[in-house]
């Protein structure tokens, strides 16, 4: 937009300048005619040919007329038309008129000047007209405009190139910064294995980079401190409880409150450890499930369980806090192992949601245990509710699962059959929305 506007301004200025030059040129020619013109009484003396040759040559494009009392008293030899002074503009005595657009004289410049000459003791107004064909003017203007356009295109290309280069040099670090921020938002660690912005930036962006890095570090340290503090708190509270629980001199009536204190600590600590950060690192859920399964093999070694794990795709990166993921799948797998008679199946699949059509990952854990009665299936996801058919302590674990499912916008499905011993079992599916 800037370059066409500039070109239009230059073209207009050139045209104005050219018009002014034409006016000056015709004015000079008019003054030359006035200088040549003489009156002797009522007699006009004007040579056939004047000093300026352009007025002597036919087809020169210049014409001159001298008008006295609406009558042409002289016209130049270059003149090819019959002048009609009545249709031309008339200037007052001592004044001049320059016109470039006259309906009576299309494509012609007109300059007129009215001078008074003394004749027989009176002053008579004599009008001098100079006409010029605009053909040469338009050609000159067109040549200038063509040249202006041609050079303008080159200049535009040059300026665009320079602008693009300078834009790239300015935008490139910003794009890099945006990319780094996006990686940090996903929790992708850099080459040093930490989540921070890296790379060289201009000094203006360095301040932003340093501030963001300080923020990320502070947030990470705060979370770590928080987790450690909770672990220390758990250690500090539970170790004395162990001593109390093992003390045989403790009266029977005190054992129930001790158990209650333990349950409260366990419930509140497990709840407070959970929580997703503003930005979340992507973790491989399949790798995490495999680790939990390896642990289950050790914990339930005596049961000789067969745990079959199938994952499609084999790597499933998902933005979830590691502690939360361990709690979510650890509790479900632990319950399934406790309930299972001989085998467990863990699958990770990707499916389109039938309602939203967006992709979602489904982690299903199936056991061949006795199954859960329908009435208890709702209870098992309610905080504090216990399933007596399972071992004690599951109420907290499953309610934690319920909390986490809500926190991550996931859904939990329970399918359980208690009808036939051979075909009984429970499948718990966690559907994680695509993020």
């Amino acid at each position: 937009m800037l370059l066409p506007s500039l070109a239009f301004t230059v073209s207009t200025a050139f045209k104005d300048s050219l018009l002014k030059a034409k006016q000056t040129e015709l004015e000079s020619m008019a003054y030359a005619l006035i200088a040549t013109f003489e009156m002797d009484g009522s007699q006009i003396n004007m040579p056939f040919n004047v000093f300026d040759d352009r007025l002597n040559m036919p087809q020169s494009g210049y014409q001159a007329f001298i008008v006295l009392n609406q009558t042409v008293v002289w016209q130049s030899t270059s003149s090819t038309l019959q002048p009609t002074p009545l249709t031309y503009p008339s200037a007052k005595t001592g004044e001049q008129i320059f016109a470039d657009e006259l309906t009576s004289l299309p494509d012609t410049f007109l300059f007129t000047f009215t001078a008074e000459f003394e004749s027989e003791n009176q002053f008579i107004p004599i009008k001098f007209y100079l006409l010029e064909d605009q053909g040469a003017f338009h050609r000159e203007l067109a040549t200038f405009n063509q040249s202006l356009f041609r050079n303008g295109v080159w200049v535009a290309l040059l300026i665009s190139g320079l602008l693009l280069l300078s834009l790239l040099s300015v935008v490139s670090p910003v794009k890099h910064l945006v990319s780094q921020l996006s990686k940090a938002a996903k929790g992708t660690p850099n080459q040093d294995g930490v989540v921070s912005l890296s790379g060289a930036y201009p000094k203006e962006l360095n301040a932003v980079k340093d501030s963001v890095n300080a923020l990320l570090l502070s947030e990470s340290q705060q979370r770590t401190r928080f987790k450690h503090a909770l672990q220390d708190l758990a250690h500090s509270l539970k170790t004395p409880l162990s001593v109390l629980q093992g003390d045989e001199t403790i009266p029977e009536s005190s054992k129930a409150p001790i158990l209650q204190i333990d349950q409260i600590i366990q419930r509140q600590l497990s709840r407070s450890v959970l929580g997703k950060a503003g930005w979340q690192q992507h973790i491989d859920v399949c790798e995490l499930l495999q680790k939990i399964i390896d642990s289950m093999h050790k914990i339930y070694r005596d049961k000789g369980l067969s745990i079959n794990f199938r994952a499609i795709p084999e790597v499933f990166l998902y933005p979830i806090d590691t502690t939360d993921a361990y709690e979510l799948f650890g509790n479900i797998l632990d319950n399934a192992c406790k309930a299972a008679r001989s085998k467990l199946t863990v699958t990770v699949t990707r499916q389109a949601d039938s309602q939203t059509h967006s992709q979602m990952h489904i982690i299903s854990i199936s056991d061949d245990g006795p199954g859960i009665p329908e009435a208890m299936q709702t209870d098992m996801l309610t905080r504090g509710k216990r399933l007596d058919t399972y071992h004690q302590g599951h109420g907290i674990g499953l309610a934690t699962v319920s909390d986490l499912v809500e926190l991550y916008g996931a859904t939990l499905q329970v399918h359980s059959s208690t009808s036939h011993e051979k075909s009984s079992g429970t499948t718990i599916s966690v559907c994680l929305p695509n993020k």
Binding site: Q231, D232, A234, H235, S236, L237, K238, T239, P240, L241, S242, V243, L244, Q245, G246, D247, I258, D262, Q266, L269, S270, V273, K291, I292, D294, S295, K298, I299, R301, D302, T322, T323, Y326, E327, F329, G330, N331, D334
Partner: protein, 224 residues
Amino acid sequence: MRVLLVEDDSQLLIQLDQLLQSHGFSVDLADDGEKAQFLLNEYTYDAILLDLGLPKIDGVSVLKFARAQGISTPVLILTARDTWEQKVLGLDAGADDYLTKPFHQQELLARVNALIRRSTGHASAELSCGPIHLHMTQQRVKVADEVLDLTAYEYKVLEYLMLNPQKVVSKTELTEHIYDQDFDLDSNVIEVFVGRLRKKLDPDNTLKPIETLRGRGYRLFSPA
């Protein structure tokens, strides 16, 4: 059975020490990770009870150190950190089982016995060798349905031999596994225990379950 108990809380350490000793275990104690590593380097144990939150060197590092040294002794983690992340971290580092604090003493004993059994390839808590039956959890020994009255050390010697049947067990190995580190090692005492055991297990001297291999040690074999 000789176990290493690593726990920084002195009250719990004393309580568990008493519990384990009262159930026939020889117990070495460590109240920090550094001491635990030293003891693991110096002695052989049948099981390790390891707290994760330890001063100087944390429990997971002690566990990794033990496995890196090639020590395959079963490890039971005692942890107040009951998140699955912590449990998996400990099991992944080489632990064999975990127990979350606070725990019942009977559960601890059952877990330790199960670990020792598994590590010696026994699936059941009851060990059998011909007519001799030893129940590890109940600490009861029967010969042909007759319950024997054994002293704590006699029981320890028999339990160790039954956990390692057909294997030649030296006096030093027996001593190391039935006594804790502060005990004065005197091989004559072992001979006395074995002699008493033979009399109690086989008063008629017909079964002869414990064989003496001169200069090498003892071997328990299944009597015909």
